[in-house]
């Protein structure tokens, strides 16, 4: 068993790489939300050809493993852009990871946003239009806050899944917290693997608790005045 000083040193070595994990996660979340919003809007509108394209995209992104997608983007995108004489071989691998994870999470987030938008009663928009708001005003002031409040628990689910997916980034050479753990295990010839994996599991749990607290705070703000079925 380890002693306390070794454990503390290990934890600091791992937390050293935490900014990289958080960068990948937050950037992927932000871009994924934007793209997911677009995809959800297309699926709600249901015009023929864009709907078909979006359905195929969402199906592919949700049904294939993220590792396969990561390799496709990391090895395939430079080759694809080479056809247009754009050389991106010296880009930071973090950018490839962000591209992959944002495309992947956009597919899942589009379903989350679609279900949340459709859950808001149509009567809310009718009432907003009847007092003279425009479509955009009714969307931003009335529908969006309610839809956001409904989407929040599912958003938390997907955010936590995104956090765990970033552990795949080691396979393309990024040293994030999981990558650091693999390096430590390799350097110590597998001596203290159980302790190290327990530590990394705890670190992931702490980050997840932080995410849950954030989601709970947002939920408190966005479901204010909402009367639920539990009296």
């Amino acid at each position: 068993m380890f002693n306390m000083a070794d454990i503390i040193r290990l934890i600091f070595r791992i937390i050293d790489k935490l900014p990289i994990t958080l960068t990948i996660m937050i950037a992927s979340l932000f871009l994924g939300l934007l793209l997911g919003l677009l995809l959800a809007a297309v699926k709600i509108k249901q015009s023929r050809i864009p709907n078909a394209i979006v359905t195929v995209y969402v199906s592919f992104m949700r049904c294939t493993p993220p590792l396969v997608q990561l390799f496709l983007v990391f090895y395939g995108l430079p080759q694809l852009l080479m056809l247009f004489n754009i050389n991106i071989n010296d880009w930071d691998p973090v950018i490839f990871a962000i591209i992959t994870f944002s495309m992947n999470s956009a597919a899942f987030l589009s379903e989350v946003m679609r279900s949340a938008y459709l859950a808001v009663d149509r009567g809310q928009q009718e009432a907003a239009l009847s007092v003279g708001m425009s479509n955009i005003q009714s969307f931003i002031s009335i529908i969006l806050p309610q839809a956001f409040g409904i989407a929040l628990p599912n958003l938390g689910n997907n955010l936590i899944i995104l956090l765990k997916e970033t552990s795949l980034a080691f396979t393309i050479g990024i040293t994030d917290i999981m990558g650091q753990v693999n390096i430590i295990c390799a350097n110590s010839q597998g001596v203290n693997q159980l302790e190290i994996y327990l530590i990394i599991a705890l670190i992931y749990w702490v980050i997840c608790i932080a995410i849950e607290k954030g989601i709970a705070f947002l939920e408190h703000n966005y479901t204010r005045g909402h009367i639920g079925i539990a009296s």
Partner: protein, 236 residues
């Protein structure tokens, strides 16, 4: 890089034979997780005194730790726990011949329960509180109002998110190899190990996963359209 397409086509049926096992684990875990997730959500929504905090801790722990870690904990911990129960309560549950499928189902059910409880919580909170009050006012019990009024409305909101979770579960079953359950990716690795033809086998496995997921996506869309009928509007 030579890609042995003959090998890929020849061993496709072998990998396909493991598809029912993957489906079995995914579907049973999903259904059991639905039931347990509903119970956990009820504890949290109605703020049952002790179970409320326990449920929140459970959801936080299961979502916060990796699935593989949970599978190993169940694999090594469940026999010990059953032995303890056998001694404490004088039962005689056989420990030594537990099929690895039981471990896999246990671990996947516990895992998906946590994610589904959040989805169910979001879906139930999307239903207006007035529905419950109206149900009470015509004399329904809570159970009747849930089954006849609330759940049909909540199910429409929840279905796309259940689809997300189920597709994640199908991909997650590939970890069941860690407890010696022979499912799709396990067969792919075994077949590939002979001649180190990993790329061909992973391609086969990916195609089968994609077809399976695609079929289930269609199923979920069908279900959603069928359940959305009560929402037919006159104006858009």
């Amino acid at each position: 890089m030579n890609f042995d397409i003959d090998f890929a086509i020849r061993t496709f049926p072998t990998v396909l034979k493991a598809a029912p096992m993957t489906l079995l684990i995914a579907v049973i875990s999903m259904l059991l997780g639905l039931l347990l997730g509903f119970l956990i959500t009820l504890c949290r929504m109605y703020k049952v005194p002790v179970l409320n905090k326990l449920a929140a801790l459970y959801v936080s722990f299961i979502r916060g730790t990796p699935l593989l870690v949970q599978i190993y904990v169940i694999f090594f911990g469940l026999p010990t726990f059953i032995n303890y129960l056998n001694q404490a309560m004088n039962w005689h549950i056989p420990v030594n011949n537990i099929s690895p499928l039981v471990f896999a189902l246990f671990a996947f059910t516990l895992n998906t329960t946590a994610y589904q409880s959040e989805t169910i919580r979001s879906a139930l909170s999307a239903v207006d509180g007035g529905q419950m009050e109206a149900a009470y006012s015509v004399g329904m019990t809570t159970l009747q109002s849930f089954t006849r009024i609330i759940i049909p409305q909540a199910l429409v909101v929840a279905l796309p998110n259940f689809g997300n979770i189920f597709l994640g579960l199908i991909k997650g079953t590939s970890l069941a190899f860690a407890v010696r359950v022979v499912e799709i990716l396990a067969v792919a690795k075994i077949e590939a190990g002979d001649g180190y033809k990993y790329l061909e086998m992973y391609l086969d496995a990916s195609i089968i996963y994609w077809i399976m997921c695609f079929l289930f996506e269609k199923l979920f869309i069908l279900l959603e359209n069928r359940l959305k009928r009560y929402k037919i509007e006159i104006t858009t």
